[in-house]
Structure formats: C-alpha cells, structure tokens
C-alpha cells in the first residue's frame, strides 16, 4: 500500500492524536510566554494596578486615604477602567499577541511550526489559546490582588462580609470576567494585526485612539469597539464626562457572546491568512 492509499484509508479525524498535538503546542507556547523575559515585563505591568490601589488605600491625605474619602468601589472602578482596562490590558495584550506570530517571523523560527503535521488553522488556535491562558492568569491575578486591597480600610472581617454577604463577590466576578473577555477580544485583534503589519505602532495607535475615544462616537460606531461591550459589563457605572454620547449599555449576554463571536471571526480571518502565508523572511 502506498503512502497516499494508506493516508486515504485512515480516519479523517483522530481526535486523540489532535488533542496531543494541540496540547504539545499549547505547552510549548506557554513555556515561551511564561518562562522568558516577556513574562517579567507582563508581570511588572500587571503589578501596576496593585501598586496604585495599595497607594490610594494606605497613604492618608488630610487624615483620610483616597479609598476612604471617595468610597472604595468608586475608586476601584476608576482605577480599573482608566488604568487597567484603558492601558495595562490593551498594551499587555498588544505586547503578547502582536508577537505571537510576528515575533517568530522576526526570529525566523516560524517555519519549524509550519513544518509540523498540524493544520495551520490549529497552529493559530493553539498559540492563541496558550497566549490567552498566560495573559489571563497574570491579569486576573492582578485583578484579584488589587480588588482585595480596597478592603484595607475595613480589614479582613469586613472584606469577608462584603465578599460573601454584600455585593463585593459579584463585583469581583464581573471584574474578572471583563479581564478575561478583554484578553480574548484584544488578543484576537492583535494576533491578526501581528499577521498583517510588520510594525505595530500605527495600527495599535489607531486602535487605541478609537477605543479610548469610543464615548464620543455615535451609537452605531460605538458597537464597533471592544471597550463598549467591556464597559457594559462593569459593575459600577461611571460618567464618561459632559461630551460623551450616552447610550444604553448592551445586555450582558450580548456583550459576552458578541465579544466571543468577534474573537472567533477575527481568528478565522487570521487562520485564512496563515493558510496562504509564504515563508520569505527576507521580506520581513
């Protein structure tokens, strides 16, 4: 029997084999992400919100800390929305996902992956899943630690009471969900950007301006920004200022499913691109 006949006789999909292959690639990618310099930079970035909440919760100004003066929920929401969602998550995802393929193209090592018996679409899916896992673990840990620090003024027993009997637990889950969805949404977008662009500055800059100024956009265009759906899931509503075009936030289910569908479509486009991709490093 020739190889072609033997191949044709095999079942089209061997799920156990596929799982081992994809698992192997996910582990390889996780090692690349978590055991290299990249992890140190991400770790430092994810520590920023923790440090900020620690500062506003421990340094008294005029006899009161900022947390005590303005209320811990408002202060945390402001820090989460402006610093974490508005900068750390965006740029952290840009750093990791833009380099998911572009980094290997620049290192001239992508061909090793493309010479393995894995469909290229699965290579995209496995690398993306590993990157989401790595980034989400770091940033969700940051969310948990920084959130716990808002209980500095009320102490351990106050924290337990709010988390179990009050709204604290529900809020924490919402922040964790937004963090995860931000990683999924921005991650897919920057994976695609990394496949298409050699230099991230212009596309990332344009996306950042679009996302940060989304509150000025007319309602129809707001729907084309990731942050519009993420903000709709935040537990404490904050004003976007006097110039904002105010619209009703989308229902939570629409936000969650919409972002997941968006990520799936963007990844499908990325997979189409990599299917047709040629390895010509000299052009990169």
């Amino acid at each position: 029997m020739t190889v072609a006949q033997e191949t044709a006789a095999r079942p089209r999909l061997d799920w156990a084999l596929l799982a081992r292959q994809v698992g192997g690639l996910v582990r390889l990618e996780l090692r690349r992400l978590l055991l290299t310099r990249r992890a140190v930079i991400l770790g430092l970035a994810s520590a920023v919100p923790v440090a900020i909440v620690l500062l506003v919760g421990s340094i008294p100004i005029g006899g009161q800390t900022v947390l005590e003066r303005f209320g811990n929920r408002i202060v945390y929401e402001t820090i989460f929305e402006t610093v974490f969602l508005g900068a750390i998550l965006f740029f952290g995802c840009l750093y990791v996902f833009f380099n998911l393929f572009r980094g290997e193209i620049l290192e001239r090592s992508l061909h090793y992956l493309l010479l393995t018996p894995l469909r290229r679409e699965l290579v995209v899916a496995a690398k993306y899943a590993a990157a989401v896992a790595a980034v989400a673990v770091l940033f969700m840990a940051s969310t948990v630690f920084s959130y716990m620090l808002i209980y500095l003024p009320v102490g351990f027993s106050g924290a337990i009471e709010d988390l179990t009997a009050g709204p604290g637990g529900r809020h924490l889950v919402a922040y964790l969900g937004v963090t995860l969805l931000a990683c999924i949404g921005y991650g897919s977008l920057f994976t695609l950007v990394g496949m298409v662009f050699r230099n991230p500055i212009i596309p990332a800059g344009a996306l950042y301006v679009w996302e940060m100024l989304h509150f000025l956009l007319p309602p129809a265009l707001k729907k084309l920004s990731v942050i519009h759906y993420l903000k709709g899931l935040l537990p404490v509503p904050l004003s976007d200022g006097p110039f904002a075009v105010v619209v009703e936030p989308p229902p939570a289910a629409v936000s969650v499913l919409g972002l997941l569908a968006f990520a799936a479509v963007v990844l499908a486009v990325t997979a189409l691109i990599i299917r047709r991709m040629e390895i010509r490093y000299t052009e990169d």
Binding site: T2, V3, R108, Y112, T116, P117, E278
Partner: protein, 318 residues
C-alpha cells in the same frame, strides 16, 4: 515506478513579483540520494521551499509520495526539511529544540524522548544536547537542524546545503548518515552549490541555473558531460578592490584571452580556456593579501557555464 512513491513536480513555476524563482520545473525524483546543484541564487532553495509548502507555486503542482503539499497533517509525518535558515527558537537547548517539535507530531513523551536521543546520536550531538543552541558552533547548529529534520523518521528528507559549515570529519559522518538513510529506502534530496561535494554520494544529480533545470541524470553520465565541456572557453567575472591590478596579473596567464574592466571600476570580466588555473591564481592572490575579492563566478548563463562553474568549485581549494 508509481508516482505515489516519488516526489513529482509538474510544470512548477514560482515568481516573486517580476523576479523569477524557478520556471517550468518538471521532475520526478525516486528514492535514494538526489543532489540539487547550482550556483548561489539559482533557485535551489526556492524549489525546496516549494516542496515543503513554505512557498506556493505560481503555477503547477507538487505531490510527495502521492500527497499534496497543501495537507500538512499528512505530509509532515513523512517529510523532514532542514532549511537554509540559521535560526532557532530563542533560548532553546538542542534537546528541547528536537523534543518539543516531536511532541507536535502527537507522540507521547517517552517516544519523543527516545526519538530525540536517537536523532542526537545520529548527528553526534549527544554531549552537547543540553547546551543552548545559541552557544553552538556553525557546524553544530547545522547538525541540530539536521537532527530536528530527521527525528520523526520521515520517508522524504529535503536538506538545504546540509554540509555547509561542517568540518571534514563531521562531513564524512554526515555523508555516511545520508547513505544509511537512503539505504533504508528513503528519499534524500540535498542541495549544494558545489558539485564535487555531492556527486560522489548521489545516485543522481539535478543541475539548476537561473531558475531552470538545465540537466538531470545519474552521476556517471553527468560527469562525462562535464568533462566534454571542460575545454571550452569560459567567461568569468570577478568583483574586487583592485581590478586593474588583477587584470594585469591575469594577462600574464597564457590561457586568458580577453579582459574587460567593469564601468564602475569595481571588477572585471575575462575569458579563459583554463578557468581552474585562473581561479587558483585568484585564491593565491587573496591568500597573499594582494586583492580582496567580493564575488567570483561564471558570467555566462548557459549550461556549459554552469558545468564549468561547478567544476571550478570542485577544484578550488576550500
């Protein structure tokens, strides 16, 4: 022999925009050692990248053992490719490099470890397996790429200039490894720009020049053709820092019939009946520090020039 046991390249062309990579290549390659020989830039790597699916042909079709190159899930269980790229995943040791890509074949860890150890042993890198590749010599990097390409025991191995950078002893061991693999009934396709480097180990040779296959056949016949054209005059170019001085030295040789300086003053063309002796002179002058040579090669693009060039490479001291 059935197509399903061979590498079949049917009317394949590849253009990079307006630039020709390879044109109208028709080849059927049987098991054994086949060498793809041609000057630098002749299209060897393009053809190999097309075989591996790293490039897409502008026209034509390729099948390997009856499998299309567009189905990596089938092809790369049978196909190993050692590319020209001297690059590796950052921070990897030799062991990690071979082992981690074996896991992507879906092997369990024990089997992947066994195959990694076997591949490293075959290329003689057992002692350096746990050192980072970044600290390897050029020859070691070449061998670890080879180990990665053969680790999953492919039936077809495509090796782009695999003997580059190897010292004579390792080169001999590597050639012996190729013979063993071919003896096991596998396809071993090797590229080189030096005919002499590969003709003794090859079952057949394919000559490529400027993107065209100019000759193919079994080695004895090819050598006879090469011998026939040896006596014909050949036009050679040299790009160097002292073309006028080199022209003067060349005219002292009785076999040099014509010398023409390049308009930009950075080189010369000459016609010689004995390019071997001329190239030996150039090598001596370079060794003495009399001239710095940037490039030297055949200026004609026909088959004869390719043969002549390859024969010169063969006889040039390396």
């Amino acid at each position: 022999m059935s197509d399903d046991r061979n590498i079949v390249i049917s009317d394949v062309s590849k253009f990079y925009g307006d630039v020709l990579g390879v044109n109208r290549v028709d080849l059927e390659i049987e098991p054994g050692i086949t060498s793809l020989v041609g000057p630098n830039g002749s299209g060897k790597s393009t053809l190999m990248n097309l075989l591996a699916g790293l490039l897409r042909p502008t026209r034509g079709e390729i099948s390997i053992l009856g499998l299309p190159v567009t189905r990596p899930q089938d092809l790369f269980r049978r196909f190993g490719y050692c590319t020209q790229y001297d690059s590796f995943p950052r921070g990897a040791t030799g062991w990690q490099f071979v082992f981690s890509y074996l896991l992507l074949h879906g092997l369990d860890r024990d089997e992947a470890e066994r195959l990694t150890a076997r591949a490293l042993e075959r290329v003689g890198l057992v002692d350096s397996a746990h050192r980072r590749i970044a600290g390897y010599s050029k020859g070691m990097r070449q061998r670890i790429k080879l180990a990665q390409a053969i680790a999953h025991r492919p039936q077809v191995m495509v090796l782009d200039e695999p003997l580059n950078g190897l010292d004579p002893m390792v080169r001999a061991e590597t050639i012996e490894l190729f013979r063993q693999l071919a003896g096991e009934g596998q396809h071993v396709l090797i590229s080189s720009h030096i005919l002499h480097e590969v003709d003794l180990l090859s079952d057949r040779v394919i000559l490529i020049s400027n993107g065209y296959i100019v000759a193919e056949g079994e080695v004895p016949g090819m050598r006879a053709e090469v011998e026939e054209v040896r006596e014909q005059p050949l036009q050679v170019f040299v790009r160097c820092d002292r073309p006028q001085w080199l022209a003067g030295r060349a005219f002292e040789l009785d076999h040099v019939t014509e010398v023409q300086l390049h308009d930009d003053g950075g080189g010369l063309h000459l016609r010689t009946r004995d390019a071997d002796r001329f190239l030996r002179l150039v090598a001596e002058l370079v060794a003495e520090g009399g001239v710095e040579v940037e490039a030297v090669g055949p200026a004609d693009s026909d088959l004869q020039a390719v043969y002549r060039y390859l024969v010169h490479e063969e006889e040039e001291p390396s």
